[in-house]
């Protein structure tokens, strides 16, 4: 139980990764595949954020104290959450939305070509 309390975030990541991957490959509707893709990417983002958490830390914007009216910023690393993983994931979110836009565009094109968004029906029409 103690192990679960420590690592339940990673467990959630794994569950979401599995759901996303299953939906991307196994779902029949193309829009559902896109939703699966977003969930998959979100799970990876969650994984990166989880690895950057430090117990008892605050957001990575530096605090300061005033000594004789002069601002001194506190730069001790253990006070703040890990900025590196957050930056990587900002980029990953942007990449995710760009990919999503492209995928949905293709879904619309497929719909105007075949009149359906179900994979099995499209494959039937192709043959």
């Amino acid at each position: 139980m103690e192990w679960l309390q420590i690592n339940y975030n990673y467990l959630l990541v794994i569950v979401l990764l599995m759901i996303g991957l299953w939906a991307m490959i196994g779902k029949n509707n193309l829009v559902k595949k896109c939703i699966g893709m977003c969930i998959f990417q979100n799970a990876i983002i969650m994984f990166f954020i989880s690895m950057g958490v430090k117990a008892g830390s605050t957001i990575p914007i530096l605090n300061y104290t005033k000594i004789d009216g002069v601002k001194t910023y506190l730069t001790e690393a253990s006070m703040y959450a890990n900025p590196l993983t957050q930056i990587l994931m900002l980029t990953a979110i942007v990449v995710g939305v760009a990919t999503l836009g492209m995928a949905l565009t293709l879904v619309q094109k497929i719909y105007s070509e075949y009149g359906t968004c179900e994979e099995d029906e499209i494959l039937e029409k192709l043959n």
Binding site: L11, K54, T85, G101, T105
Partner: protein
């Protein structure tokens, strides 16, 4: 396909579950991911750039090259979606049979509310871009908010009323321009003798001792970079929405 996908997902889940024990404990401040490079950023970012929001400092400066290509990804998405979806040479009236009939929205409530909300959203977006050095936010978030304000106009009114304010010519120019501002700052650094995106090379433009001037240069260059990102993201979000919602016909929103 269903069974195959389940098997693949389960195999991946099992692989990851096996290594759970090997990962550092959750919240461990001394784990390698939290110690090696990221500690350097937290300890030195303020000294070297005078930006208290370490995320902005790393995003726009230490890993600015990533951010430039992140802007590039959005740019690519706009151009790609335009290339695939935009329809040309089709008379305006010729609508596809498959599209649901268009019901013009009733502007009584939503239209009036939008008129109230949009200016505030845009001011907030500008604030988020400009204040990204000190608080959460920056070019990307602010750009999305600005883009969302235009999308809101297109959703509640006609797409035409939004396109009147931001026509296709404009958003294509702005998408390119934002990227060009970002990369142009990088190029200016090369022009002044530094490496690409080495903002401290811009120090001769600012006053103070060389050390201070370099820091000021980094601080200001980051703002310019964020503005560039804001331009691209704002116009690209609206552009993608326009093409998706009108299915490439550019005639109406939802």
């Amino acid at each position: 396909m269903k069974v195959l996908s389940l098997i693949i997902a389960l195999v991946m889940g099992a692989l990851l579950t096996v290594i759970l024990d090997d990962l550092p404990a959750w919240g461990d401040a001394q784990s390698p991911a939290n110690a090696h490079v990221s500690a350097y950023y937290l300890e030195n970012a303020y000294k070297q750039t005078h930006v208290p929001n370490v995320v902005t400092a790393v995003l726009a400066d230490y890993r600015g090259f990533d951010t430039m290509f992140e802007t590039g990804v959005v740019f690519v998405a706009v151009i790609g979606i335009m290339a695939i979806l935009r329809r040309e040479g089709v008379p305006k009236g010729a609508k596809s049979r498959k599209r649901p009939p268009h019901q013009p929205p009733d502007p009584a409530i939503t239209g009036v509310a939008t008129r109230f909300i949009v200016p505030f959203m845009q001011i907030f977006g500008l604030y988020v871009i400009a204040h990204g050095h000190y608080s959460p936010g920056g070019g990307f978030q602010g750009g999305v908010i600005l883009g969302a304000s235009v999308i809101l106009m297109a959703m509640t009114g006609e797409l035409k009323s939004a396109l009147n304010r931001m026509s296709e010519d404009w958003f294509i120019i702005m998408v390119g321009l934002g990227f060009l501002i970002f990369a142009g700052v990088g190029l200016a650094c090369m022009f002044y003798g530094g490496n690409f995106l080495d903002y401290s090379a811009l120090a001769p433009l600012f006053s103070g001792t060389p050390q201070e001037a370099a820091i000021t240069a980094r601080y200001h260059a980051m703002l310019w970079v964020e503005i560039g990102v804001g331009f691209t993201v704002m116009s690209s979000m609206f552009a993608i929405y326009t093409y998706l919602a009108s299915d490439g016909w550019m005639d109406r929103g939802l």
